[in-house]
Assembly symmetry: C2
Homo-oligomer: 250 residues x 2
């Protein structure tokens, strides 16, 4: 059993303490040991420690303070640029400018990110994933000067924790696991699976804060709205095109 | 340091031995501890042990024998179906039928999959990721009866190893890591980063087997061709549309 997996909590407050170079190298190496499609390693990790660049990234990531406060910001990118360059130098014609190749590269980047997250936590560091990476991909591309063939897909902030939150609640295992084939949820199933979450003190607090009748409305009306999702969907599709991943014809 | 991360090898030959129920539950639970966007847990894991369904999945996954031989086949899906149903039962109008929501859900599924992979390995199990999941998503949707809002994104086969391969080679850390901003590779950089890989005995064997002049050509001409990538890109985009993730207008 890997204790680090079961004790994971996202950390949003960090100490000023820098991460030693040897620890940084080990967590990055952990990333490279993750499975990768055909051993192509079609991803990149951009390590940002410089305060000026971190401030630009902070602005892109909806000004979440942890981006400025954590000593390390790691941007994980789907990356066919290096592989394409290698192909071109080796009399090989790459055909990786399409949506499938983006998906393949994004998978590589995400598996690597989770290895990095766990290895960081095993060294006493805290981490938090930034979902804003895909929303603001265009701006991040500008800040980090990502060339064609490279798309940021997730970001980890990493540093020594300055808070000690408890474990986050999760739905019962039954909610996410299906046996043999997908089970179709009845109304009663849904009620049962969400009951514990809805009964939590935290939920009551959120309903008050957000002035909503149900927890689901906190998500649909305030946190993850259709309006935002549509804007970010189109922005991200435009990014895929601009970075050369939407040439889906022979 | 998490030893399991640094000793990972993909396993393609499995013993007949079934995975005990308590071990299966623990590796699935490990999946649920991964970070998830806004704690929405917008993913599902379909566990397949039934021989008939495994045979259908085997056929979908390019008839790779490990799909039939491994006792467990775990299909990880981007899944907004459960969350949408919950919203609808709670007077909330979900706006998650768009490309951003698919991306968010796919990220959730992939982080969970890497936790499951590592926890399985910590129990002495072997794993292998199947890249064919996105190529053959439509067929997998039919086999596992995945409803609207659900798209398979990766698959793990899991079981007790019947082979003991060595660590897979990786490019030097320098190849995938960039500091502060993306570094642009010169021709000399690319030559240096790929030299070790190109000099391996395995590479010489691959060139002979594939009758190619360079290793890059083995990828572009035989393993991951533009022709296949274009076909699978369009098929996967069609799947996203069919499963209700391409309504990118208000």
């Amino acid at each position: 059993m890997i204790d680090t997996i079961f004790s994971h909590k996202s950390i949003r407050k960090y100490k000023n303490t820098p991460v030693p170079e040897n620890v940084l190298n080990e967590i990055l190496l952990a990333g490279t040991r993750a499975s990768t499609t055909g051993n192509m390693q079609v991803y990149s990790i951009v390590v940002t420690r410089n305060d000026e660049i971190k401030e630009q990234l902070w602005s892109a990531h909806f000004k979440q303070n942890m981006v400025k406060e954590a000593p390390l910001v790691l941007t994980f990118c789907a990356d066919f640029n290096r592989f394409n360059k290698w192909c071109e130098q080796r009399k090989a014609i790459p055909g990786y400018d399409n949506f499938l190749s983006f998906t393949t590269a994004a998978i590589d980047a995400l598996l690597a990110s989770q290895n990095v997250a766990l290895e960081a936590e095993a060294h006493g560091l805290g981490i938090c994933y930034l979902g804003t990476t895909t929303y603001m991909a265009e701006k991040i591309i500008d800040i980090l000067v990502l060339p064609e063939g490279v798309v940021p897909i997730t970001t980890l902030v990493v540093g020594y924790p300055d808070e000690a939150p408890g474990l986050t609640d999760r739905l019962p295992l039954d909610a996410v696991v299906h046996y043999e084939k997908y089970k179709h949820y009845s109304k009663t199933d849904i009620d049962a699976l969400y009951r514990e979450k809805e009964d939590m003190e935290l939920t009551k607090k959120l309903l008050e804060e957000n002035q909503k009748e149900t927890l689901a409305q906190v998500f649909t009306d305030n946190r993850y709205t259709k309006k935002d999702n549509v804007v970010f969907s189109n922005a991200f599709l435009k990014v895929l095109e601009k970075q050369g991943f939407m040439n889906n014809e022979m």
